[in-house]
Subunit: 220 residues, 2 copies
DNA sequence: TTACAAACTAACTAGATGGTTAGTTATATC
DNA sequence: GATATAACTAACCATCTAGTTAGTTTGTAA
């Protein structure tokens, strides 16, 4: 990070309550609180005061550490896509058949949605309110889309997948993985007895998504 | 509608500019403008002044005709689901095999997204900001989900579809249809040469969605 | 232990925002 | 064509919000 710190503060930034002053911990806490608030209300709808309240720090700290609301928003947008790509890259997909690789990728994508439940929503707001301008500046979805498209093209080239439009199919796969979470609060009323975030239901979502997509793209 | 009007005003409410005073036309214009604004910013993020500006009528008219922002929001939420069901019901799906019925339903769902590009977004905000409370009061997605689930179950019972979880698969199908539009502004950067709303691209979306889902659920 | 810079707070400001109100104009009906 | 009333406007108010500022506390290192 360039900065040399003599004593490394090991306090978990996101969970434990702040006790003393600690730049990195405070910034991380503001970022996490901001991610949640931006997920609910988007850039313009989010109140800096609400972020501050979640952080346990005064509103002025947001401006002290991040300059203004927009810069904080951009900092929040930096994290999603690079984290997804990182998750994909630990899977060694090149070593697998296209079919196995696609199954693993879908599982990883859904598990990512579970691990970071706010990020899909932040990006929705971003598309909606700001036409994706800020997200585009931070790299956008390009790497993730390329990653999935390339995998699909490989499957088609190898003959294990039927001919398909890689871009459209990538969009369909992203929709399959994320809609379940993004629309969760509307879906829950249609299945009141189920907890959509329980491990069992998430597993059913993963299994169903893999079954649908693999059967859907396979060369039968 | 209960009210007797001697002369029916035939001016198209949504498009042509207002010229004289006309309750129904004004209310419809406010509703359409509100749908757009709520789609971008959700309930809390939407500024009544912005709705007024789009309508060409003063802000006070919103309160005159709808009482307050929340009541206007609820009026906007009344329209989406009933319109989808109506679209489904004109398709005579019971007369078709499950496979043909599902194909037609997907086409109709996507065409609905094209016809009313804001409604999916309004519902996303609703899920996100208000945990779907208001939408639930207006009926929610229940009828649409039931409609699709029943169709899937019929296909499974007939043996033309493989065994599958109807609820999960319904969510996947909804995601396939709507993500393309809801994330459009983020997707467009990944395919800058394409106009995602052009008839050709929408047709490719429809074809791809049908191909993926039908192959994905079929008993091979 | 003292001195200093970074981290932090409380109180504030200018401008926006939901909602109101008092008054104005169009329109249907007699 | 007079008139009652529904449709509408302009100006207003109380409250809220992004961002600022002046001053206080804390860790650190000489």
């Amino acid at each position: 990070m360039g900065k040399v710190t003599s004593k490394k503060k090991e306090r978990a930034a996101s969970t434990s309550p702040r006790r003393t002053r600690d730049t990195e911990a405070t910034k991380a806490q503001i970022l996490n609180a901001a991610e949640e608030e931006f997920a609910r209300h988007g850039l313009s709808g989010t109140r800096t005061e609400a972020i501050a309240a979640k952080t346990g720090v005064t509103k002025a700290m947001i401006f002290y550490h991040f300059g203004n609301k927009e810069k904080l928003y951009r900092a929040v947008l930096k994290r999603p896509c690079s984290d997804v790509i990182q998750a994909f890259e630990t899977l060694d997909l090149e070593q697998q058949t296209a079919e196995v690789a696609l199954s693993r990728l879908i599982r990883a994508a859904i598990e990512y949605c579970v691990a970071y439940p706010h990020r899909g929503k932040v990006l929705f707001h971003e598309a909606n309110q700001n036409q994706g301008r800020y997200f585009q500046k931070e790299g956008g979805w390009q790497p993730a889309i390329d990653y999935i498209s390339n995998l699909l093209e490989r499957g088609v080239a190898e003959g294990s997948f039927r001919p398909l439009d890689p871009f459209i199919t990538t969009a369909h796969i992203m929709g399959i993985c994320s809609f379940y979470f993004d629309a969760r609060e509307n879906l829950k009323y249609a299945a009141p007895e189920k907890d959509l975030l329980s491990p069992d239901m998430v597993q059913a979502h993963i299994d169903g998504a893999i079954a649908l997509v693999i059967a859907g793209v396979k060369n039968h």
